[in-house]
Amino acid sequence: MYDLTNTVAGLNFSALPQTLTNGILNGAIYALIALGYTMVYGVLRLINFAHGEVFMLGAYVALLTSYALGYGPAASGDPTNPLLSLAIMLLLSMTICAIIGVLIERFAYRPLRSQPRIASLITAIGVSLLLQYGGALFLPVSPPPSIKETVNPPEFRKPVTIVLTQPDEKITQTIADLKPAYEEAKQKWEAQKKIEKDEFELTPEGEAIRSEFQEKERAYSGAVREADTSSNKIIVPTGKLIMLSTSMFLMVILWYLVTRTRAGRAMRAVSHDFDSAALMGVDVNKIVTLTFVIGSSLAGAGAMMLASFQGTPLTTFFGLQPGVKAFVAAVLGGIGNIPGAVLGGLLMGVAEDMVIWAGYSEYKDAVALVILIIVLLFRPGGILGSSKVEKV
């Protein structure tokens, strides 16, 4: 039996702000991918299973671009113009992903538009399998390559630390008190180490010095750890902050596009009623293409940022997990609803990091699906969506 009180007490509440921050940073990427799912579903009522694979291809485009720009596996030395190369990688990923998305729509989904939805769904699964296994024939897969860290300028790699609450004064005092004695013992031991012949066969004198040093070190590091847990701070890698701001920038552009432009109005009309919009003179095919361009390029941007700021090793199955999670995020926020996708993505990221924080990291991938099932059972339309009542 689990002791519930122990489990609750075992949680490290001072790590909560850090957990939430990590969750939001991850969630931003999920939100970017979820936007693609939600827009396609909104317009075509189709779950685009191949979207995760478009994401994967975006990461590969970024990788190959970085190779072409001189960050290949054999390259060494400092980058010449890192910001420019990052921008090129971003733009290329977005462009090529958009092209791939449009091609998929044109050749796999459009011929089936008048058929039952299950046919398009199976085709989507087929396209996704084709890209996963077909990509493995031509793309570098083993050993899993990753974008070199040197793509990021050194200032992007430094973490930003935000201290929320200082550690307890008493503990700081204890640390200050313990420090001189610890330093002294450490120096003594370092000096003794040079005299000793072998670290495993110490002289009695050396043994005494070592045990004293170990004792001091234990006390000191214990105090430091205590100070660490009693203070609240958030450490964010600068690269991830750039990731977050870029995604937010892209989302704002999307919001402007959808709510303030002619094409956006047409898109909303098509998503409201496909046939009526066509009757009203909206070029439906153009709008669907536009939807795929936007959704896929957002996925490409997300993939490029995830691959280069996180340095994740790439395989052709790279898009599977983020794809599923982003899809859950889209459903969570109400599929077809653009603010809903962003909200769902952020919630998804936070929920995932909370599960890791609670110590169940092996269930990290299941939490998305559990949330999905609960949401669908109790609020089938999602958080921001509305559920329709079927009429005869």
Partner: protein, 407 residues
């Protein structure tokens, strides 16, 4: 007459199973393995067809039931085998199939309950999620081996004494039972409500069909057959890992159902056998040069577009249409060969390393899926069943005129 026919068909079914067993007994291990797995996939796809095609509940997590069944029987075998004296050989397998069927049926009940509230895509997503959740849970349970896998003893060949009967008949008996249950359900009055639910839920409930009950029953029957197949898998492989039941497996089963024709029992059974065999047989091919792959892709694209055009514009007699299709097909095959020859003359392409056919397996599977969906979205057999009348009609043999009814 009716019972004669029925007993006759049962006897023929059993004989076919024994014949398969006898044929497989003389084969090498790999071919026997293919026959066994093909039988399991036939069971899986026909049982999913009951949920997806016949009742119209879009379920995408069939691998979950398969997994529940496999692990249930595996766990039982590890704990109880040898403790009950009279349960040996086939009896043990039958008992395990029962246990697995019950375990999977409970899982099916749990999945079936949300189906009361959800429909269409949403139900598909939930079942898919359910499948993944079960896999992740199994992966983290130390009792059943976690991600390292579980060793199931005794193995299938041991149970059947190694030589003589290979136990293949067991797999095919299950497949035939599954087909018979589904077929008989559809031929009797008990099966009509399932079809009614598929066609229109609101209308059928207005006509007095208990929609909830029908959906749950479909899930129960479908999942219990998948569970029984899982029991056979566990005892045949002798080893279970959660990676054997990923999302891909669910997709493959779903593909078999849809390609065979949703709602067509024979369609899904045939599609299961063919779709399982084709990719496995590709392993034997020699490495394929890149030039031929490129030629193949071009000619397949051409074939698809030409066939699409034929199906839209051609309205002539049926026989000629079929000839057009076949002509396109073989023309494309010849074109791919010629293109391959031409492209291999280009030095830069010819120098590329040939790709092993093994790695092309899933690519061809996916390609077949897309092409068939584009050309025939309702599946190869559609809603039709295979029947001898149909064969006669295709072959051009006229049916015997039915006896004139005297007034």
């Amino acid at each position: 007459m009716f019972f004669l026919k029925r007993f006759g068909s049962i006897a023929i079914g059993l004989l076919v199973c024994l014949a398969i067993d006898a044929i497989a007994g003389g084969m090498d291990d790999f071919s026997r393995r293919l026959i066994i797995l093909a039988g399991l996939y036939v069971t899986l796809s026909v049982s999913l067809n009951l949920i997806n095609g016949i009742t119209g509940q879009f379920s995408m997590g069939h691998a979950a039931f398969y997994q529940v069944g496999a692990y249930a029987s595996g766990y039982f075998a590890v704990t109880f085998y040898g403790k009950i004296p009279w349960l040996t050989g086939p009896m043990w397998i039958i008992a395990m199939m029962g246990v697995s069927a019950i375990a999977a049926a409970i899982a099916g009940l749990i999945v079936g309950l949300p189906s009361l509230r959800l429909k269409g895509d949403y139900l598909g997503i939930v079942t898919l999620g359910f499948g993944e959740i079960i896999r992740i849970i199994v992966q983290n349970q130390e009792v059943i081996g976690g991600s390292y896998g579980m060793n199931v003893q005794p193995k299938f060949p041991v149970l059947f004494g190694g030589t003589g009967t290979s136990g293949v008949w067991m797999v095919w008996v299950l497949a035939f039972i599954c087909i018979a249950v589904c077929r008989n359900l559809l031929k009797t009055v008990h099966g009509l409500p399932f079809l009614a639910v598929r066609e229109d839920e609101v209308a059928s409930s207005a006509m007095g069909v208990n929609v909830t009950k029908m959906k749950v029953i479909a899930f129960l029957i479908g999942s219990s057959f998948a569970g029984a197949a899982g029991a056979l898998l566990a005892h045949y492989e002798g080893f279970l890992t959660p990676t054997m039941f990923t999302m891909d497996v669910s997709f493959i089963i779903l593909t078999m159902v849809v390609l065979g024709g949703t709602g067509s029992i024979t369609g899904s059974a045939l599609a299961a056998a063919v779709l399982f065999y084709l990719p496995e047989k590709l392993r034997d091919l020699p490495p394929v040069p890149v030039a031929y792959i490129a030629g193949g892709i071009v000619s397949v694209l051409l074939m698809v577009s030409v066939m699409k055009r034929i199906s839209i514009t051609y309205h002539g007699p049926k026989g000629k249409g079929a000839l057009l299709y076949f002509g396109t097909f073989f023309g494309a095959a010849a074109l791919s060969f010629v293109l391959g020859l031409i492209l291999s003359a280009v030095p830069s392409i010819a120098q590329m390393e040939a790709i092993e056919a093994n790695r092309l397996r899933m690519v061809i599977f996916a390609g077949t899926l897309i092409i068939l969906m584009l050309l025939r979205p309702q599946g190869v057999l559609g809603h039709h069943e295979f029947s001898w009348t149909w064969v006669r009609r295709v072959l051009g043999i006229k049916n015997r005129p039915s006896k004139a009814v005297s007034a």
